[in-house]
Symmetry: C2
Subunit: 196 residues, 2 copies
């Protein structure tokens, strides 16, 4: 773990996901690790922080989440655009060396069994809240966030700093095919007494 | 309805929401209309298109959605930043003239009873899929998209054109308080054969 990766207080964890970035979902079960891309991840609650993520029945990662009851949601950056596209389009079923081909390096965080993708801007370790009807009918999974971390070069003191960080740190927001938008510039609707 | 508002084919409706914008939720029931802001809305399925949205128990809009079984999810633009912040912070319970104060104008679309907020970039008319456990336990609502429209000045031919449209059309992505980011620039991970 490099020196830039800092814990984020759980009560501010929702801010890592609030702007709707495309994420990577990682999990490990019985010695198998996988990473997939997901545009359909969303905050669900503040305290304890929860989130939703849609995991298609065709994905190996879904089996690992169901088997282990744990997963990590992390935010890839512009620098990881091709990696994100590759893990979203290659299958561990068909390509056992998928992660290597996609250029994914996995790292560990203390107290979490699921693997973390190196080089992301933020990570949310989650415990699956089993909801069999949602999972079967909608491919919809709910996680409680048990730990959060961010790279202090782009998120620190509870705030994103996209506008002052290297542009390669910006989050990416998938539209369709290989097409994404980066996050843009800050705008504020806050009056002077509302500044957070 | 102005000439720029064009229907979006249902199979491409997910693209309106895929990049994770903050949305406005509108509904009407028994003559009462309301609009609220929601950062926690997310695509859920392609065909038929579905989405999730989190509606807190304190909101009047939630009662209208539960009562009518219908709602509209729409994307406010940079031009509507203050409007978005206002409808997200004023309550119809406390201020019967909330919509007027926030500068909201409502328009109608053929075949949909729920009201649409004028000036947005895109609209998704939804039928509530009742899931009482999700609604009670998580404030999580599921809608099936029954119609979609976009302003052709920023979304046409199935694609966003944020980069060539007036910057005032960009989507806004809430972080916390009155702080948002706009959507940024396009980036592509697609090979030449993957162009959509």
């Amino acid at each position: 773990m490099n020196e830039h990766i800092q814990p984020v207080p759980l009560e501010k964890a929702y801010r890592l996901l609030n702007h709707g970035p495309t994420v990577l979902v990682s999990a490990r079960h019985e010695g198998v690790e996988n990473v997939m891309a997901a545009a359909w991840a969303c905050a669900l609650d503040f305290a304890p922080p929860k989130l939703t993520v849609v995991l298609d029945k065709s994905t190996r990662t879904r089996l690992l989440v169901e088997g282990s009851g744990e997963f990590v949601i992390q935010l890839p950056t512009v620098r990881q655009l091709r990696l994100t596209h590759e893990v979203g389009n290659r299958s561990l079923h068909a390509e056992p060396d998928k992660l290597e081909r996609a250029g994914v390096s996995l790292i560990r965080m203390d107290g979490v069994d699921a693997p973390f993708v190196e080089g992301c801007s933020a990570w949310l370790a989650c415990r699956l809240i089993p909801e069999p009807h949602n999972q079967q009918a909608y491919d919809l999974f709910i996680g409680e966030v048990t730990g959060a971390w961010a790279d202090a070069r782009v998120f620190r003191d509870g705030h994103w700093h996209f506008e002052s960080a290297d542009p390669a740190w910006r989050s990416i927001h998938h539209i369709a095919g290989g097409h994404f938008y980066t996050i843009g510039e800050p705008v504020s609707a806050a009056g002077p007494r509302e500044e957070a």
